[in-house]
């Protein structure tokens, strides 16, 4: 057989293999773990996706150990134990998150406040049986809720809660921060397409492996209206975080009591039933979704307007939806109007 014939044959085989799509698809790795009182799921695509997901979970486990207020060995528990006693030296991560938290407490006029822990314990939503504290009890505990009473020393990297009985809870920011750190770990392993879900905080890294934008749903806060979803957001390289009054709650005498407190009144915030923030930093989006949930539609939109780099989708108890800020040009509202009857419940 002549050389040319051989060449033609080889070329033919290669062409057909190429046409039939035998190129290597990016390897998918998928894993779910229970961490930080929630489920964390990572789906990553890339040649080293397995190692990437393993390393990302290792990092998140480390952060969970530092920041879980309910784990008596955590840094946060140590800070709380020493409230009114002495400053506690902490890791750079915990310090950075506290600095960030205080910044946003200032920006939101105290609508977001990490010192809500005594309130959380007083109400015990999900732990005590439908307990509604008296106004007196609430006022007593509110004396301990004030972010201005946290004293940070950047030189010594110490945290001091200046009043005995104070306590901090990083639940409103730690999951977002963990998702941000997980994303950085995945990047190091050359993953550029991944979805990280940390208890409703979502990081949509890059685009889907098929090159299309990710499609992230926003849950409708009242599934009993027949709507499971409120909206769908096609997106890339953003994080989507939602705060809602449906995650931990109870209903007593026709009133819904849930786990997001207004640090100024000491009661569950009731101006919104769902607040979603879209941004490029999940810790920030986590804080903002809580802050907006407490602030309500009007002040919430003003706050988002000041920031420029984030967007928000808010739903009021009357099921009015407000959109503000960036990243939302392709948002599709998918719920059916008029199906929400008694949204307050």
């Amino acid at each position: 057989m002549r050389k040319t014939t051989m060449k033609v044959a080889v070329l033919l085989v290669l062409t057909v293999i190429w046409l039939s799509g035998c190129k290597r698809a990016p390897k998918e790795a998928h894993r779910t773990e229970f961490l930080m009182d929630t489920t964390i799921t990572i789906t990553a695509y890339g040649s080293q996706s397995e190692q990437a997901v393993e390393a990302a979970f290792a990092e998140m486990r480390r952060l969970a150990d530092l920041m879980n207020a309910n784990d008596s060995n955590s840094e946060v528990a140590l800070i709380n134990k020493n409230a009114g006693l002495k400053p506690v030296r902490v890791s750079p991560e915990t310090f950075k998150l506290l600095e960030m938290s205080l910044e946003y407490s200032e920006l939101s006029n105290g609508a977001f406040d990490v010192t809500v822990r005594p309130l959380v314990e007083l109400w015990g939503i999900g732990k005590k049986d439908k307990y509604v504290p008296s106004e007196d009890e609430i006022q007593q505990v509110l004396k301990l809720v004030d972010y201005r009473k946290i004293i940070l020393d950047p030189q010594k990297r110490t945290v001091f809660l200046s009043v005995p009985g104070m306590g901090i809870d990083l639940g409103g920011v730690a999951k977002g921060y963990a998702a941000d750190q997980a994303k950085e770990v995945l990047k190091k392993y050359k993953v550029n397409s991944a979805l990280i879900g940390a208890g409703g905080n979502i990081w949509a890294m890059g685009v889907r492996p098929d090159g299309q934008k990710w499609r992230i749903g926003i849950r409708h806060p009242r599934p009993e209206t027949g709507n499971q979803l409120m909206a769908v957001l096609p997106c890339q390289d953003v994080t989507v975080v939602t705060s809602g009054d449906y995650e931990r709650y109870f209903v007593r005498d026709g009133m819904r009591y849930h786990h997001i407190f207004d640090p100024r009144t000491g009661r569950p915030a009731n101006k919104l039933i769902s607040a979603t923030v879209v941004g490029t930093n999940s810790a920030e989006a986590d804080i903002l979704s809580t802050a907006l949930f407490v602030l309500g539609a009007e002040q919430g939109q003003t706050l988002i307007g000041k920031l420029e780099h984030a967007g928000a989708v808010l739903m009021t108890p009357e099921s009015q939806v407000f959109k503000a800020g960036s990243h939302l040009s392709e948002l599709e509202l998918v719920y059916e109007e008029g199906k929400t009857s008694d949204a307050r419940r």
């Binding site: 044959a9 990710w214 926003i218 499971q228 769908v232 449906y246 709650y249």
Partner: protein, 130 residues
């Protein structure tokens, strides 16, 4: 080109077409099963215990799942699924109602049970923020 060369070329061409055709068929077939019918995935403690097409669950059908605390029970509807029984204290998972779109999930933290819908439909979701 000799007669022998031609024969070799034709044989190679035939084999290549046949193999290529099979690969094409196989790929399309697997796409039909993987993507077009939404699947229900049941996970306990992060491990997949069961996976079946959403359509397998007839309205009223129930399935029991053994979790960390005890048995959770899911019920089927018209192409949807919900949690109806759970040993957890707060029953938030039951309050989540029906799910039907790929990307949606019911999570019961205390019992370590996750019910998820995967695949694709007209909404084509990858995840749900909640």
């Amino acid at each position: 080109m000799t007669q022998g060369d031609k024969t070799v070329l034709i044989v190679v061409l035939l084999v290549v077409l046949l193999v290529g055709g099979f690969i094409w068929l196989w790929k399309n077939h697997s796409q039909v099963t993987d993507v077009d019918v939404p699947q229900v995935v049941i996970e306990v403690n992060g491990e997949i215990k069961e996976q079946f097409p959403l359509t397998d669950l007839e309205p009223g059908d129930r399935r029991q799942i053994e979790g960390a605390l005890g048995y959770s029970v899911v019920k089927g509807g018209e192409n949807k699924v919900m949690m109806v029984e759970s040993p957890c204290p707060d029953k938030i998972c039951i309050g989540m109602g029906w799910i039907s779109h790929p990307g949606e999930a019911i999570v019961c933290l205390p019992n370590r049970v996750i019910i998820r819908v995967i695949g694709s439909d007209k909404l084509d979701l990858d995840g749900v923020s909640q």
